[in-house]
Amino acid sequence: MKAKVHVTLKAGVLDPQGKAIGNALAALGFKGVGDVRQGKFIELEIDETDPDAARAQIEKMCVQLLANTVIENYDIELDR
């Protein structure tokens, strides 16, 4: 099955890239843009077919590698 992992910076962690994007949007004339945060999107193809087992497996991947849990949160989305 296919899984999508979104890795985002935890609230309160400074995100200079997001800030730069926000400034650039403002410079392009986009008004009303508040906080901008940049994250990562990772798409995985896995053999596991059971959703619960798949989620548990990906949870492990996130903790061990995909996210740095000191500063990042992750969110798992399963496609079936």
Partner: protein
């Protein structure tokens, strides 16, 4: 002093640190490929600068999970001195051998230039060759050197004297911090001061031909402390 340099795919300061270690100790370090799982008997382990695994995902993230790192962590926990320079520092934080993270530079640009740091603690095998508060001129070259940790961790690092180097202003410039690091931190120790991670490259300042020699005392100090 018997030392080893861990080589990851994408390491690119491995030769430079090997030259600096050999210059100080007279013995070439062993170069150990990341896929090894065991280490010989060693007095010092170095994680060199570069772009291990292209810095893909996060700087140092994939290298921190490579096979040799289990053995490296084991030795570090036994008290074998472990030095991580630049990308090596990133590998150390990603392996949780040191606290905190190294984020993108505040200016969002790669920076390569000489900077100044002050020696914040001489109480280690790495820094005993320096004087307390000594001002050093050493090059930096990184994209992600912006040291961050929780306030409580920063307080603890400072309270326990675990800050090794701090960026310092020089030549009348107002701010010596090149990358936005919290509390001007350029390098930190672990709790027993046997693991050091730092962003500046002391191995690029060991030869008059480099334009500076302020890195020499680190390597000569290590040899003095660790020679058998």
């Amino acid at each position: 002093m018997k030392s080893a340099v861990i080589v990851f795919p994408g390491s690119n300061c491995d030769r430079d640190i090997a030259v600096a270690l050999e210059r100080a100790s007279g013995v070439a370090p062993e170069m150990i490929w990341h896929r090894e799982t065991t280490l010989p008997l060693l007095d010092l382990i170095v994680l060199p600068g570069g772009f291990a695994y292209g810095d893909y995902l996060r700087g140092g993230a994939i290298a921190a999970r490579s096979p040799i790192m289990r053995a490296v962590a084991e030795r570090a926990n036994q008290g074998v001195p472990l030095l991580g320079i630049c990308n090596g520092f990133q590998v150390l934080t990603e392996s949780s051998l040191l606290p905190g993270v190294l984020m993108r530079n505040a200016g969002l640009k790669y920076i390569c230039r000489d900077i100044h740091v002050r020696v914040a603690s001489t109480e280690s095998v790495f820094t005993q060759g320096y004087a307390q508060d000594q001002l050093l001129r050493i090059p930096i070259a990184h994209n992600e050197g912006n040291y961050r940790a929780q306030e409580s961790m920063l307080d603890r690092l400072e309270g326990e004297g675990l800050v090794a180097f701090r960026y310092a202003a020089c030549d009348g410039s107002a701010d010596g911090n090149p990358n936005g690091s919290a509390r001007d931190i350029a390098g930190i120790f672990n709790h027993s001061r046997t693991v050091l991670g730092l962003m500046p490259h002391p191995e690029r300042a060991v030869d008059p031909a480099h334009g500076g020699t302020d890195g020499v005392a680190m390597f000569e100090g290590l040899v003095a402390a660790l020679a058998r």
